[in-house]
């Protein structure tokens, strides 16, 4: 993995080298990702074992991706006869979420899967569960302390930028003086900076490509339309656009349509169903999108089940489940979009 300065990056440093190496090999394999992730695929080891009760606490599903997270978790748990899923009503309020998790602790669930509304604020609750002997699988938004979870499963924002940059780079490597534009997400968020850094780092490999403009929207359709309209006015000609988020991409595509522009290639981010459909139809500028796969929630259920049954993950030599799993940000384009269609969210 590239050097990261974030908490997530630090956690990578502390991860066991063997597990890390194995996982790096595993996550870079798109086919495996599809296998373990897609709820359509049979699980690697679906023979019933010891009964496990998994408590699941997530934030309020106020946008498509979080909805998909809940659906993935539910569907995956439903696949296993030996898993009982105790899922809480999602909440963005830290106090409420703490209360919900404490209720799950008191119920003595076997394993907890927690997607905190705010990772730092829920660290103490994670620690409490761990001290009570309930292993915690921390989903995506990471706790401040590695002691607060047994295993972290999440997405790779830096990798999203990196893969988007490489995809665009390969498409434009023969274009002299190619210009690239970036429509970023909410600038207040660390993840936006990581995505941008990954994108910039990838573009450094292609000296003929220059990023000429970057504007930040805020993950909403409205802001996507507004910022993209400004970008189009600012840059009368460019060759490629990377948009961090498919939701704001709906607005960005609207602005592109309204401006009557089709002289560039667009790559999206996250993996919304509408983006997959546009890529499949191949009738506009959107040619690819970089995943931030919601299937990580299904993987978290798999890991929680293995944890509850005291098993490792099949396909790996380890006796225990890994301490870190980073979902790969695969590039979805026309060639492989059908495979990902079932995990697209709206």
């Amino acid at each position: 993995m590239p050097d990261l300065t974030s908490r997530r990056g630090l956690l990578f440093g502390t991860a066991a080298v063997s597990a890390g190496a194995l996982l790096a090999g595993c996550t870079s394999n798109e086919k495996d990702e599809g296998n373990t992730g897609s709820s359509q695929q049979p699980a690697a080891d679906d023979k019933p074992g010891k009964a496990v009760t998994i408590g699941f606490a997530g934030p309020q599903a106020d946008h498509g991706w979080l909805n998909a997270i809940n659906e993935q978790a539910r569907a995956r748990a439903g696949k296993y006869a030996d898993v009982t899923l105790d899922i809480t009503e999602g909440s963005n309020d830290t106090a409420t979420q703490i209360g919900q998790i404490e209720t799950l602790i008191n119920k003595k669930v076997d394993v907890l899967v927690i997607l905190p509304a705010d990772g730092a604020a829920l660290t103490q609750t994670g620690l409490k569960a761990m001290r009570a002997g309930i292993p915690v699988v921390n989903l995506d938004r990471v706790f401040s302390s590695p002691q607060a979870f047994r295993c972290w499963v999440g997405g790779d924002n830096y990798g999203m930028g990196l893969n988007a940059g490489h995809y665009i780079g390969e498409k434009l490597k023969d274009t002299p003086d190619a210009k690239v534009v970036e429509l970023a997400g909410l600038d207040n968020l660390e993840l936006t900076r990581q995505r941008t850094k990954g994108f910039d780092d990838a573009l450094k490999n292609y000296p003929n490509i220059k990023k000429v403009a970057r504007q930040a929207a805020d993950f909403t359709v409205e802001s996507g339309q507004a910022k993209m309209a400004q970008l189009l006015q600012a840059q009368s000609a460019f060759d490629a656009l990377w948009n961090h988020d498919d939701d704001q991409g709906v607005g960005a595509l609207r602005a592109i349509d309204q401006a009557g522009r089709d002289d560039f290639l667009m790559v999206g981010g996250a993996g919304a169903l509408s983006a997959f459909e546009a890529i499949k139809a191949d009738d506009g500028v959107l040619k690819a999108t970089v995943l931030y796969p919601p299937t990580m929630a299904a993987s978290a259920i798999d890991l929680a089940r293995a944890l509850g049954q005291g098993k490792g993950v099949s396909g790996l030599a380890e006796f225990e489940i890994p301490s870190q799993v980073t979902a790969y940000s695969a590039v979805v384009d026309k060639s492989n979009v059908d495979q990902y269609m079932p995990i697209g969210f709206d």
């Binding site: 599903a61 979080l66 504007q215 805020d218 909403t220 359709v221 600012a234 009368s236 309204q258």
Partner: protein, 349 residues
């Protein structure tokens, strides 16, 4: 007329003048002239700020900024929040506040883009936007006028519940519009003599708003209620009914804005209209509407909106990032208000 009786002190005088019978005959002859002279100073200072921005844009990015397409872009981006600001100007002029405008826009746009609504096509979407806006305005108005709730609290409650309901309807999903008539309205082919339809709606709402505030009894009553509600009541104005109408008006503007946003973005989302309340209040205040009530200017509000949109445009064209944008925006708000206040003070002295 209403302009002259709005001294910065916001004292008692407004009410008698706002009464129908006596003032018009003499007022029409003498008052408007001084009123326009003073209005002009305010408006001129705003136009000065706008002109300075145009120079800044023209110097830094001449080819991209000084362009008809860019003018259309700025006006289009200003249109949605502009319509909301016109409604907000009335509410603030009457001494109220409406913190729920963004949430109402979100709820109306979401309600208007559900699968069920879209089955009714263009008319269904337009009707639903406007009616949901009016409905929210009615609730706000009833709570404030007849429930004796403080506007800040009542509209804060509406802010929370309308956003919650919008989330409940969408479940966080982006509702894409599939009705061609609505989508086409936002495209280039729909331009009327080179002007986007949304800009025309903005212009129409502004014109109606100006007439309503400056040329009707309704407008005079609004100013009177804002200047001194008790005096207005004693002068025979039904203050409560007036307040109800004002929040209805704000709700109506939000409904229209919601439809415009659906046309512009081709979708409905529960995050729509984010922070509109602050943008609308800021534009109205910069424009010269008194936050304490008793004085309001539609022209000023619209100029305020245009100043904000132009700033955003210039920053985006120069590829400045959000951190710089936010700092500069704050500084420009302060500068605009200071310049305006100084000009007005000099004029009065």
């Amino acid at each position: 007329m209403t302009h002259p009786m709005s001294p910065p002190a916001g004292g008692v005088p407004p009410a008698p003048g706002a009464e129908k019978p006596a003032p018009p005959p003499e007022g029409r002859r003498t008052a408007p002239r001084t009123a326009f002279a003073r209005l002009d100073v305010r408006t001129l200072s705003l136009l000065g700020v706008l002109a300075a921005l145009v120079v800044a844009g023209g110097v830094t990015r001449p080819e991209a900024f000084l362009d008809v397409d860019n003018l259309r872009l700025v006006l289009t981006q200003a249109s949605v929040i502009g319509v909301v600001t016109v409604g907000m100007t009335f509410v603030i002029t009457a001494g109220g506040i409406d913190l729920s405008v963004g949430a109402i826009v979100a709820l109306a746009s979401v309600w208007a883009t559900t699968v069920a609504t879209q089955e009714f096509g263009f008319a269904g979407i337009l009707f639903t936007s406007v009616v949901v806006g009016l409905g929210c305005g009615l609730v706000n108005g009833a709570l404030i006028a007849y429930g004796a709730m403080v506007p800040f609290i009542a509209t804060l409650a509406m802010f929370a519940s309308a956003r919650g309901l919008a989330l409940l309807i969408t479940e966080g999903r982006t509702q894409r519009v599939t009705v061609d008539g609505v989508l086409d309205l936002g495209s280039r082919d729909a331009y009327v003599l080179g002007v986007p339809p949304l800009v025309l709606v903005f212009a129409a709402v502004t014109a109606v708003g100006w007439l309503l505030l400056n040329r009707t009894t309704f407008g005079r009553r609004t100013v009177a209620v804002g200047g001194n509600a008790e005096a207005a009541r004693l002068a025979g104005i039904d203050v409560r009914r007036q307040r109800l109408y004002l929040y209805l008006l704000s709700g109506l503007c939000c409904g229209i804005a919601a439809f415009m946003l659906v046309v512009l973005s081709g979708s409905g989302q529960n995050t729509n209209g984010n922070l509109y309340e602050l943008d609308a209040i800021a534009a109205a205040i910069i424009g010269g509407t008194l936050l304490t009530g008793g004085r309001g200017t539609i022209v000023g509000s619209v100029l305020g909106v245009l100043i904000f949109t132009t700033i955003t445009n210039i920053f985006a064209l120069n590829n400045l990032q959000s951190d710089v944008q936010q700092i500069a925006k704050g500084a420009i708000i302060v500068a605009a208000v200071l310049v305006q206040r100084r000009t007005v003070r000099n004029e009065l002295a």
